[in-house]
């Protein structure tokens, strides 16, 4: 029974990771590629960690070994570190790309550019 739950969580994780890496090839621009790739891979990694946690809790119930409790807690710490650092890194890349002169493709209004020039307060 718990086998099927772990398999389902792993399937969701693989599908979202592969969709995130395909979105790097289907979007025309740096900013839209960053949007698709960062969101999809973060969601897929969340489900991979959930699969590990469910498997660890099942092993605690089966074998009563404290190593699996350590495995579940350290996986959750890795998930928290990834969820804190991944959007911050994406924001830094987007701001650096805009400041170094790469314009968004097919965009009519660039609000950040006009804010930098001081036309909109």
């Amino acid at each position: 029974m718990i086998d099927f739950i772990v398999y389902a969580l792993l399937a969701v994780s693989i599908i979202f990771n592969i969709l995130g890496s395909f979105s790097l090839h289907r979007f025309p621009d740096v900013y839209t590629r960053l949007h698709g790739a960062t969101k999809c891979t973060t969601f897929g990694t969340i489900f991979a960690v959930f699969a590990v946690v469910v498997h660890s809790i099942w092993q605690i119930k089966e074998t009563n070994n404290p190593k699996y409790l350590q495995m579940a807690l350290h996986s959750l710490v890795a998930l928290i570190a990834l969820m804190l650092t991944n959007p911050t890194g994406a924001h830094a890349i987007a701001k650096a790309a805009h400041l170094s002169g790469y314009k968004p493709a097919k965009a009519v209004i660039d609000a950040y550019e006009t804010k930098l020039r001081g036309e909109i307060q």
């Binding site: 590629r33 891979t41 991979a48 570190a81 890194g89 650096a96 790309a97």
Partner: protein, 87 residues
């Protein structure tokens, strides 16, 4: 006890990493390559966690935590270099 499902998960993560590596190699500009490397770091962390669960080694998951924090620092340093200094 080895649970065989995690190996299929690692196979899927490796497939996603190969698709990302194509974008890193033929990206037309520098921020495209940086986005590809950032995505690849997230995929490597997921693969390390799944590998630690597959082989029943907790130390692999600790290495995944350290790799996540160090890749974040590397991304920030490259972004600071790209926008032209500490401003």
């Amino acid at each position: 006890m080895i649970f065989i499902g995690f190996f299929y998960g690692i196979l899927g993560v490796i497939l996603a990493g190969v698709i990302t590596l194509v974008r890193v190699m033929l990206g037309p500009s520098v921020p495209d390559r940086v986005v590809g490397v950032d995505t690849l770091n997230t995929l490597i962390v997921a693969g390390m966690i799944l590998l630690g669960a597959a082989y029943d080694r907790v130390i692999y998951i600790d290495i995944a935590i350290v790799y996540a924090l160090l890749s974040y620092i590397g991304t920030l340093v490259v972004a600071k270099y790209l926008q032209g200094g500490l401003e």
